[in-house]
Amino acid sequence: MRVGELEVNFDPDGFMADPAAWNDAVARAIAAEEGIAELSDDHWRIVNFIRAYWKEHDLAPPVRLLCQELGMSVRQIYKLFASGPARGACRVAGLPKPDGCV
């Protein structure tokens, strides 16, 4: 994917190969791929929380914590990111693929 001057590469599951290359424009471009025409304030709250948590812990946040901290239900998050917090939201936040038994 090309975002401005930046060439962004992804792993086979669609997560950023180099999370350090993430920026707001990249987030918007990945969001478009996820079918999100425009990132709302709520989208950004989720993305920024996931990004900050990952920077501190090297892990995606537990979904329950994400809901608690942002005062959202898991269904609200699914309404914002149709492919879910662990996939859609983490992709837009530029994280590497979260662990999970798939």
Binding site: V63, R64, C67, V74, R75, P85, A86, R87, C101
Partner: protein, 392 residues
């Protein structure tokens, strides 16, 4: 702890009985020294506990052996888990040019070690089960060749709960003169096992599931007449001047200091299930599985994968829900309803291919002895609500 409905007992049983936790703490507090490494009384006591546990498990896995024809307890070898135990078995019996027969029901704990042997020059046949997930022993027989050195099969599926007919598969192996190895990760402590009667040469087990020990425990029970090479080398605590690893059991397959607290807990776990009765625990779990299966089957858009029989089964059930990714259902169940399940491929990709559930897998429910009818009803209600809120 938050109120939870834990239905992921196939991953690990939870919670563990208080008796297990108590035994671990007390033993480690009072005798937490290196067993067999010194002549001090504490070390002797620790070694006695280890050896006593070997004896208990040897008997547990060989209930049919007549008195006086006991099993050599030193051939009950400890490992960190079933995967490590299965690696010991595969690496110790198969080499370049050899052939292995296994099945498509296997967990990656078998698939990957076997595939690595293939990469080193061995051959492997993966026998397909029937539509329900049961392997026909005749198909195992057909797959055996002149250079087959091992048949290795999953006893209970961690995806669908099917339990293979080990007595029949063992008879096939006996007739063909090929050793049979069994992955009992889902069945040890759940389904009575009789290695001698079923002609099982190697029984790999994990401690933290149906045996109610802690994680980091498990092992392999080696039949007295089975041949296996050692593939890990190092300290044994005895005959230190020998430049090579010892050939006698248990040292042949063990190296380094054992997980003393874990084995104390494993021993207590076996006491716990024997006190309650393996059959009684299993009957409780299967009774709940039947209710769960019946309740889920009535939900529009829900599909059960694999057998729905309750005979020859452990209490595990895999489903998918139309228009939902399994991982999303698992997340909603966890976060919104406090119900823990396992989603995805459950480390068993070939059986998902067989049932048509690859690559995204299933939502797996697995029942344990601490589950109740209320837990099952809560799970059915939750999935019903999620299904009703189905995305377009």
């Amino acid at each position: 702890m938050a109120d939870i409905t834990y239905l992921d007992n196939a991953a690990t049983t939870f919670p563990k009985p208080p008796e297990v936790l108590h035994a671990m703490c007390e033993f480690y507090k009072n005798y937490g020294v290196n067993p067999g490494r010194t002549g001090c009384d504490l070390a002797i006591h620790a070694e006695q506990m280890i050896h006593g546990t070997r004896k208990k498990f040897s008997a547990f896995f060989n209930p049919g052996l007549a008195a006086g024809k006991g099993k050599d307890p030193n051939r009950l070898v400890f490992a960190a888990n079933a995967t490590m135990a299965l690696n010991l078995v595969v690496n110790g019996t198969v080499g370049p040019g050899d052939h292995v027969v296994t099945t498509k029901v296997e967990h990656n704990s078998v698939i990957r070690p076997v595939n690595h042997k293939v990469r080193e020059g061995a051959e492997a046949a993966f026998v397909a089960p029937d539509a329900e997930g049961y392997v026909d022993p005749a198909e195992i027989r057909k797959a055996i060749k002149k250079n087959t050195k091992l048949v290795i099969v999953n006893h209970g599926s961690n995806v669908t709960g099917v339990v293979q007919d080990l007595a029949a598969i063992g008879a096939v192996c006996r007739e063909a003169g090929v050793p049979l190895a069994v992955d009992s990760a889902q069945t040890a402590g759940v389904i009575p096992i009789d290695m001698a009667a079923w002609n099982v040469s190697f029984l790999a087990f994990t401690g933290h599931k149906g045996l109610f020990g802690p994680t980091g425990t498990g092992g392999v029970c080696v039949a007295d007449d089975a041949e296996i090479r050692g593939t890990v080398y190092g300290g044994t605590g005895v005959r230190s001047a020998d430049p090579h690893h010892l050939e006698e059991f248990p040292y042949r397959l063990e190296a380094g200091t054992l997980n003393l607290a874990g084995i104390a807990g494993l021993c207590a776990g076996l006491d716990w299930i024997q006190h309650r009765g393996v059959e009684n625990i299993h009957a409780h779990e299967i009774g709940l599985l039947g209710k769960l299966q019946e309740g889920l089957a009535a939900i529009p858009g829900l599909k059960i994968h694999g057998t729905t029989k309750l005979e020859r089964r452990v209490a595990t059930l895999s489903v998918t829900l139309a228009n939902y990714d399994p991982q999303d259902v698992g997340t909603i169940l966890d976060v919104e309803y406090g119900i823990q399940t396992r989603t995805g491929l459950q480390c068993a990709p070939l059986i998902h291919e067989h049932h048509g559930t690859a690559p995204r897998g299933t939502i797996r429910f697995s029942v344990g002895p601490f589950n109740t009818a209320e837990h099952v009803a809560a799970a059915v209600r939750a999935v019903t609500e999620i299904a009703a809120d189905r995305p377009a």
